[in-house]
Amino acid sequence: MRPRRWRPLVRRTLRGLAFVAVAVWSLFPILFVIHASFRPPATIFAVPPQYLVPPTTQNYVELAKLWPEFFGSLANSLVITLGATALTVVTSALAGWVYARRRGRLLTSSAFFMVLVRMFPPIVITLPLFPAVNAAGLSDTHLVLVLLYAAFFVSLGTWIMKAFVDQVPREFEEAAEVDGASLWQMLRHVIVPLVIPGMIAAAVFIFIFAWNEFLFAFVFTTTRARTAPLVISEMLGSVTGVDWGPVFAAATIQLVPVLLFVVLLQRHLVAGLTAGGVKG
């Protein structure tokens, strides 16, 4: 056989291997954690590794017994995430519509300001906000995290919404105006139904961020408003030695919902990033 015939086959095999390598790189650490959460704690770090042990829910039982506050922190995470998502989507939709439809130097300056502020490092603002939040009696509340998370994503959200409103023909708005609709009615009944995919795209980003965020939760909450990532980090800092079984169980509970979210809404994630999401 001439070597030329081999080339497509070699090419296809190499490409196949590359896909497998990409999948292993992405999934192995995630599956490792989920799998470890169902292994008896004694086998997690056994040498040589023992992977084929009968699964157990022992780690989850231990988690409920040793760290009951983890489940409260999940509820906190959910409340904060939903609050931040709602606030971001509503404020971004309003601003995005204005930036898509109206012009003016002052308006453009305010749009540029939004892009500029995206570059500010989050940790910097903890310095003045830590005492200010304490003085205002807002320390350890859900509200602080809702406001901070929304503030750091309203800019991306506005850009996504502007890109989606740009796709809606102006004639629709003019028709509504002719029919005597108020601005509010026009937004509510003409624009909103047409830009729902944009609202979902914006929501996906802020949802993932708020559900996973660590730094602000670490600085601004202590007991009542602690989020799930924070409680997991506290499990890691135990002075008596880390109890890995419950840690893996907690990590699995924390990551599975948002992983499903990304898998189901991946189309919107892609649309959000590309629809002018980071292009400004």
Binding site: R101, R102, G280
Partner: protein, 289 residues
């Protein structure tokens, strides 16, 4: 159409969020950096003394150097890997929905959980990666005692965590390259490599630059990963600027010093973004009236 007062009212909730929680506090940090203060004490004006103190602190320079080195390694490693995966995917994708979901999966994971994953896989002596490296005859990472190994692990997990972002930007750009361009190059007798260099690469250059800029700005903020992995140890050798700032403020209560660090981070972030911001500004104001 020109904006009327009602339109300014509609953008005000978004603008207020930014001004009240990010912009004003950041400016305040600039003011604070010229003062000596601790939590709960009166601030005293000291001019540029905090910056002088920062410049004289070897731990600050260590953190600065660590940041510069790992940010560059992270950003370019991600760019190369992301470009590789994007090219692979753009060349024909089996099970597209599934494969995309797999590549995007790390984007869904919290930094805390990312640290748990990599910490346990690289647990000295017993971690699965350590055993694997050992089986290949490569010594494992002693990340808890060797600062260079600690930083390597931070780079590894940051690249794993943020590859989806870089990949997605480049992949979307690759899908946007017109097919005719490739065919024209082929007709002209260009090989795959030359076609990539002269057709593909220039077409996706804008996306590459945007990905680079955003990853520079975001990687520069790196806090949770080094904090949760090493807390800057051993002996403050794996600190990055954000960790240095946090310790100055919340461990040593030197607010002025922390503020000077924060202001330095802010100015450096803006300096990195200047070319991008100028391009955005030109495009926006060309369209302003």
């Amino acid at each position: 159409m020109r904006a009327r007062p009602i339109h300014y009212l509609l953008i005000s909730p978004a603008q207020l969020l930014l001004v009240v929680t990010i912009f004003v506090p950041s400016l305040w940090v600039g003011w604070l950096s010229l003062h000596e203060a601790s939590f709960g004490t009166e601030a005293r004006y000291v001019g540029f003394a905090n910056y002088a103190k920062l410049a004289a602190d070897p731990y600050f320079w260590r953190a600065f150097l660590n940041t510069v080195v790992i940010v560059n390694v992270i950003v370019y490693a991600e760019l190369l890997l992301g470009l590789g995966v994007a090219l692979l995917f753009a060349g024909g994708l089996p099970f597209p929905r599934l494969m995309l979901a797999i590549v995007l999966a790390p984007y869904a994971i919290s930094e805390v959980v990312v640290v748990i994953m990599w910490k346990t896989m690289f647990e000295p002596q017993v971690g699965v990666m350590q055993l694997l490296l050992g089986a290949l005859g490569i010594p494992g990472l002693e990340w808890a005692v060797n600062p260079l190994h600690g930083l390597t692990l931070i780079v590894l997990l940051a690249v794993w965590h943020h590859l989806p972002f870089t990949f997605l930007l480049l992949y979307a750009a690759l899908l946007g390259v017109p097919k005719e361009l490739h065919e024209a190059a082929k007709v002209d007798g260009a090989g795959a490599w030359r076609a990539f260099l002269h057709v593909t690469l220039p077409s996706i250059m804008p996306a590459i630059l945007v990905a680079l800029l955003f990853r520079y700005v975001f990687a520069f903020r790196l806090f949770s990963e080094p904090w949760l992995l090493t807390q800057g140890g051993p002996a403050r050798m794996t600190e990055v600027m954000a960790v240095y700032l946090y310790k100055a403020a919340f461990r040593y209560h030197e607010l002025g010093l922390a503020a000077a660090t924060g202001w330095a981070m802010l100015l450096l972030s803006l300096a990195i973004s200047i070319p991008y911001l100028r391009a955005v500004q030109r495009r926006m104001f060309a369209d302003a009236t």
